[in-house]
Amino acid sequence: MKQIHENGAILCLPEKAEQPLFTVCCIGGEELAGELAAIEKALPPTALLVCPAENWFSLSPLSAPPLRDGEPPFSPGAQDMLEKVHDWLEYFAERYPLDISPEHCGIAGYSLAGLTALYALHTSDPHFGWFYSLSGSLWLEGWNEFAVQHRPSESANVWLSLGKKESKSGNMRMRRVEQATVQQADLLRQILPENHVQLTFHPGGHFHDIPGRWAAALQWRRSACAPR
């Protein structure tokens, strides 16, 4: 996998592809590029644009108190992050082989970044047609109400995943995550075609087999919906 570090983001391209590349913007730290490179062989041809978040706690779509003592509170920076992602997408598409048509372009994130991806879904972000929330922090107070009030585009494709043990977290607020994720899937199934919504439960807690969860997400429906 060729990694191109430019303008603060990292573009990861498969060295040899048999099919046209699908584009996925992955919100995460710089180490995510290495993790994704490790699962490259399991993925269909995909251009992965790793978009680093400067402040993890500002990825939240909503304000919320801190999770633990001593941590900063969650501040609503999801929109700012999405605008950065748009800028990176535009920058790299001008220079490198990226397909930025919404049918072939998605946004993905793990944990709080998964919620940022869902924020893009519920604000009908026109850049993306595919939204991946991996172990998304849907337990965040106010998210369910926000999702109900903001109807997504009916052509969207949404992947939701969660660890089976995540609802057994020691943090009482985070224990809501399974219920909230199932609610999110039910809500989307009322709006989107049935095969456009996928909820998958993986073994383990929040940090178990993260590369495997990325691989499962990025493989979803690609054989049926990949660029010809």
């Binding site: 040899k16 099919q19 046209p20 590349l21 220079r95 082989p97």
Partner: protein, 369 residues
Amino acid sequence: MPNRFDQLAVADDHLLLSSCAELPVYPILRRPMGCLGEAVTLAALRMTIRDGIVSNDDLPCPAELLVNRISAPGERNLLPARWFVSLSKNSPPDDPAVASALAARIIREKSGCNPDQYLKRKGFLNGQYRPAFHPDGSMFAAGLGMTTAEAARFIAAMMRDGLLEPDELPVGYYGMAAVRLSDHAVAVAAGWFEGPQSLKDEIRSLALKTEPVLQPAETAGNIFHYNGQVPVFCGKSFLPRARRRFPSVREMAGGAGSLHGIGGEITRLSFQLDNGKAILCCIEEDGRSSLTFGYDGWITARCPSGMYAGKVLSMGEEHFCGLLMNLDGVSRTEIRLKTAPGGLLLESSPESKSDEDFSLLFAEAEGLE
């Protein structure tokens, strides 16, 4: 050492049944194949004997001995220096290449044409292959220029008429090997064969795995098709009409100037149109490059001289336009193909000022002369 298969084709005496190939060498692209000359000569020798044109008295030794010499296993080298003397003496040959050349000379003397021409007259070969004898008498070559698919169809036809057995063909290191699969079908492989002992089993096994070939519609005249929704290439291959100085892959993809011209010039170039993608195949000093254009997005390719990506920009009934990107130099070239008198004209326009525009006329591989 493992055998290396570049191409494999399965055919009966009428149709190409299946094929597979290592990119960028396609079974319907022409390439030199050692041992095909022997196949042509052997078949023509038996046919001229059967037709009463050549008799045992014309041969320097019994026909079977000559056949055995021609099909003796081993790597084929250039004709030894004494070959011309051997032919003039009409003495029993001790070298396979001399035996093949001697048989070809006898066929020409008796029938008035070279072995390939004789078979062509009889309707068993199509197209133009290299003559058995160069006009100045300095070289000999019989079968060069046939594709694996054509070779498979030819050998199957010879097999049907009892003029050739696939097992009779010699197996050298670099060349061709054939195996009878049934009464009518034969598998022909081209490559580099280090282990002739396991070769036949491997060919049979590979032949079972090949994809069936969809027989093209007889009426398919256009190079490019568009069914209103999906652009469809009709599965044709093209080769340059003339030898010329090619650019390097990097020059063609743009950005070579900024990289101090790394990469040798392309020595061989072909273009393949397929339903899923368009592939420009280049062989240069550093190795093979398959530059691939996706119909509906970018396709990346790692080549010896760097990493490239290609995408189809537009296509009509008579043109193709694609964008090729050099991901190391981050430069782009527009590649255009359009029908032109004599074939298909390829033009490239690198955006980098340090690289030159390039144009080349291609001819359809099946119709090459």
